[in-house]
Symmetry: C2
Subunit: 439 residues, 2 copies
C-alpha cells in the first residue's frame, strides 16, 4: 500500500544538513584536531594534552571503594538518582571546598558530569545570542567552544603574571557597555591558569569581585587545579568572598580521576533550582555509581595524602620542563606556575606556533599552539606546554626535539630576513612578556 523504500539520496542528506540550528555553526572541528590524532602515537612526546597522570593513584583504593559500594548499596548505585546529586557526596564536596576557604550549604551544590557539564548547563541557562562573556586572554579552549555554541561572543581581557588585570577589565566593561552589549559572565580560572599557568593575586580577587558586583556580572570561577599547588597554596577561592555573584566550578578529575566524570557547581541559591532542572533535562541524573564510588573513596581513603602525591608528581615534572627549557631554549620566555598542569611559552618574534606544529609533530613532539586559546585568532607567538602526563625524562626529550624545530625555524627566518616573506608577527605578542620570577 505504500511505495517500496529506497535509501535517501545524497541530496536529501545535504538538505537535512542545512537544517542545523544557528547555534550549531559554533561547533566546528579545530584545525589542529587531525594533527593531534597523529600526535597520540606512542613515539610522539606530547606536551599538548591535559590528561592527569592517573597512574599515580593506587588502583586498590578505587577497587576497594567500588567493591564496598556494590556490596553495601548496589541497587542504589545501579539506579537513577537525584538530578542534584547524591546528598552525602554533596556534603563531602563542602569539605573539599573548605580547603580553599569556601563555606557553603550542600543544598547549593549541584553534581554534574565533570565540571565541563556544569559550564555547559550554566551557559545554557544564561547565554542569549549576542551576549558577551569576558574571559582571560588566553582562556580555556572548551569553555570558549561552549560559549560560542550558545552564540555568545568571547571578549578577552589581558592578564599578566598576577592574572587578570582589573584595570583592563574595567576598560573592557566600559567599552562593551558603550557598544550596547550585554555582559553575562566573567569566566575566570584564578589558580594555575589553563593555559597561562599564572595565579590571580588575592588583592585582584577582591578588586575583580567588586567590579563584577558593580556591573552585575556573574563570575564563573573555574577551579580544577587549585589543590594541586607546588610551593604554597593559592589564595582562597573568589567564592570565599562572595556567594551571590559567583558560580564556582569544581571537579574530581584532577584530584582523583577524570574517568568517573564527576564535577560540581556551587551556585547562588537563586540559581540552584534552574541548574538542577537543566541537569535533569540533560542527563536525568549524574551517574549514581560514579558518585557513590567517589563518596566511598573520600570516606575511607587518605584523599588529602593522595592529593599530596599528585602535587609531588606534577611539581617534579614542572621542574623538568622548566629545566629543559632553560637548557635547550634559553632564548624563549615562559611562565613559572606554582601548580596545575601548564606553562605558557612565548616564542621569539617572527615564529608562528600554529604553522610550526606539523614540523614539530614530524620531529615527534607535540604542543598546543597559542591560537587555540584565543577566540579571535591571536596567540600565534605562543604555545602551551603541558607537564602533567609525560615522565620527566620524556619531557626533557620533548623539549630537546622542540629546540631542534625552533632552531630550524629561526635559521629559516634569518635566511629570509628582510624579504618580508616570513615575518608577519614582528609586533609584540599578547601576554608575551616574561614574568619577573622566570629565568
Amino acid at each position: 500500500m505504500v511505495p517500496p523504500l529506497r535509501r535517501s539520496s545524497r541530496r536529501a542528506a545535504r538538505l537535512r544538513y542545512h537544517h542545523y540550528a544557528d547555534r550549531a555553526a559554533g561547533l566546528r572541528a579545530s584545525e589542529v584536531r587531525a594533527l593531534f590524532a597523529v600526535a597520540s602515537r606512542p613515539e610522539v612526546v606530547s606536551l599538548a594534552g591535559g590528561m592527569p597522570f592517573v597512574a599515580a593513584l593506587p588502583q586498590e583504593l578505587v577497587i576497594n571503594a567500588m567493591d564496598s559500594v556494590m556490596r553495601q548499596q548496589g541497587p542504589v548505585a545501579l539506579q537513577y538518582g537525584s538530578g542534584q546529586g547524591v546528598p552525602v557526596l554533596r556534603e563531602q564536596i563542602l569539605e573539599v571546598m573548605a580547603l580553599e576557604g569556601i563555606r557553603a550549604h550542600a543544598d547549593d551544590v549541584v553534581v554534574t558530569t565533570g565540571s565541563q557539564h556544569a559550564l555547559e548547563l550554566v551557559s545554557k541557562l544564561f547565554l542569549d545570542p549576542g551576549d558577551v562573556v569576558l574571559s582571560e586572554g588566553p582562556s580555556y579552549v572548551t569553555a570558549m567552544v561552549i560559549f560560542k555554541s550558545y552564540q555568545a561572543e568571547v571578549d578577552h581581557v589581558p592578564m599578566d603574571e598576577h592574572g587578570l588585570i582589573p584595570e583592563a577589565l574595567r576598560q573592557h566593561i566600559v567599552r562593551l557597555k558603550a557598544a550596547g552589549k550585554t555582559i553575562k559572565f566573567l569566566y575566570t580560572i584564578p589558580n594555575f591558569h589553563n593555559p597561562a599557568g599564572v595565579t590571580l593575586s588575592w588583592e585582584r580577587r577582591v578588586e575583580i569581585l567588586e567590579i563584577a558586583r558593580q556591573n552585575d556580572i556573574l563570575v564563573l570561577e573555574d577551579n580544577p587545579y587549585g589543590l594541586l599547588y607546588f610551593d604554597q597554596p593559592a589564595p582562597d577561592a573568589m567564592r570565599s568572598l562572595e556567594q551571590e555573584g559567583v558560580v564556582y566550578l569544581g571537579t574530581f578529575s584532577k584530584t582523583l580521576a577524570p574517568g568517573f566524570r564527576v564535577g560540581w557547581a556551587l551556585a547562588p541559591h537563586a540559581i540552584r533550582e534552574k541548574l538542577v532542572l537543566a541537569n535533569e533535562a540533560a542527563v536525568l541524573s549524574p551517574s549514581s555509581f560514579s558518585q557513590l564510588v567517589i563518596s566511598e573513596y573520600l570516606a575511607t581513603a587518605d584523599w588529602k595524602g593522595q592529593i599530596n602525591t599528585f602535587r609531588g608528581v606534577y611539581h617534579e615534572r614542572k621542574n623538568a620542563l622548566l629545566g629543559a627549557l632553560e637548557e635547550y631554549l634559553p632564548e624563549l620566555t615562559w611562565t613559572n606556575p606554582n601548580g596545575g598542569f601548564y606553562v605558557w611559552v612565548t616564542l621569539p618574534g617572527g615564529l608562528d606556533s600554529k604553522a610550526m606544529l606539523p614540523r614539530a609533530v614530524k620531529e615527534l613532539v607535540a604542543y598546543t599552539p597559542g591560537t587555540a586559546f584565543f577566540a579571535d585568532g591571536d596567540g600565534r607567538q605562543n604555545m602551551r606546554l603541558s607537564f602533567c602526563y609525560p615522565t620527566p625524562g620524556n619531557i626533557r626529550i620533548g623539549v630537546r626535539r622542540l629546540a631542534t624545530v625552533i632552531r630550524d625555524e629561526l635559521d629559516l627566518l634569518e635566511t629570509f630576513a628582510g624579504t618580508g616573506s616570513l615575518d608577519p608577527l614582528r609586533e609584540s605578542a599578547r601576554f608575551g612578556s616574561p614574568p619577573p620570577e622566570t629565568a
Copy 2:
C-alpha cells in the same frame, strides 16, 4: 585600596535572576514535583516512576566486570576518553542493535551520558526558537522539557492502539507548513510507548518514514524498551529501514542499569561529526569507566539471558497490574502493552487525574497524571501506571488503594451531578478509547 566586601544584597540577586537566557523560561519545576517527593516515602506504593528493577541484575556480574576492568586497564578506565565513546563498546552496541534489525557502522555510533543526553545534544544541534517538533500525544515528559528548553514548540499527533496515526501525521504537517512553521523532528517511541504502552505497527513504520522523507523531517527514534518485550518481539526498528533520515537513540539503562549513565545515538553519517563535537563541548567525553565496565559485561556475561530475566520480571508485573485493574477498577479502560514499563489508563468522564493526585498520595498510592505527557495541558482524563518497580503484591495493593480514591471521586461526582461544578471533562479524552485487545 578597594572598599571592603559586603554580601550582595537580595536586590542584586534578583537582578541577576532576570539575566537568564530566554530559553531558560522553558525550564520550570513540574507542578507534581513536590508531591512526588512525598510519594517516595516507603509506605507509598508508587506506580509513578520509571525506575528499572535493578535488583534483578546479579551484582556479582557487575562486580566481576569492574574488577576485570580495573585490573586489566585501570589507567584507561580512570582517564578521559574519546568524545565519541570507547571503540570496542561502539562495536558491541552494533550487536545489541542487530537484535532489532539494524545494520550500521561503529563510526556512526556516539556514546552519550544516557540516551537522555543524546536527545539533548541532537536538540541543541537542530532546534532554533520557533521550530516545531512533532511527537505522539501523549509523549515522554523529559523529551518535551528538552525541546521546550530550546524554545521549540511540541505538536502532538494522535495515536491509537497501533501507535502514531500516519494520516493524522500528514494532516499536522500540512497544517503546520501552511502556517509557515519549520518542522525539525518527528520524535517517536515506537516500542511499548512511554506513557501510552502501545507499539507502532510495521506497516505504519514504513508509511511514517515515507512521510518524514517526503517532508524532509528527521525522525528521532527513541527505543529504550524495545528488547523488553513480553510475548513476541516488536517489529524491527525504523532505523532498519532508513539510515539517513533517522537518529536512533539506545540505552543500557533498561537492559542493564541506569546508574552508569550510558546510552548512545546512531546518527546519519552527515550528522555524526557535529554530534561528537557537541558531546565534547558538553562533557569532554562520556565516562571511560562506565563504558569499559559495560563493555566487559557484554563480553563476558550472558547479557541476552539477563534481558530474558528482566522480560520475565516485567511481564509478571504487567499481568499483576492488569489483573488488579480488572478486579478493582473494571469501569476504567487501559492499554495492554506487549513490553516496557507502562500502562495508559483512561478514567471515567468527569474525573481529573491531576486534581485527584493529592488524594491518592494521601491514600498511599502514586501515579503520574496524564497532563505530564502533553505539552498543551491535555491528559486530565488519563494517568500513567508503571509496573516496572513495585513487586506484583505491591502493585495489587496500589491498585486497590487507587480504586478507593476513584470510587470516592465518582461518588462525589454523582452527588453533584447536574450542578456542573465538578464536570469539566465530559468531552472524550484524547487517545482515550480502549484498544480492542484490552478487557
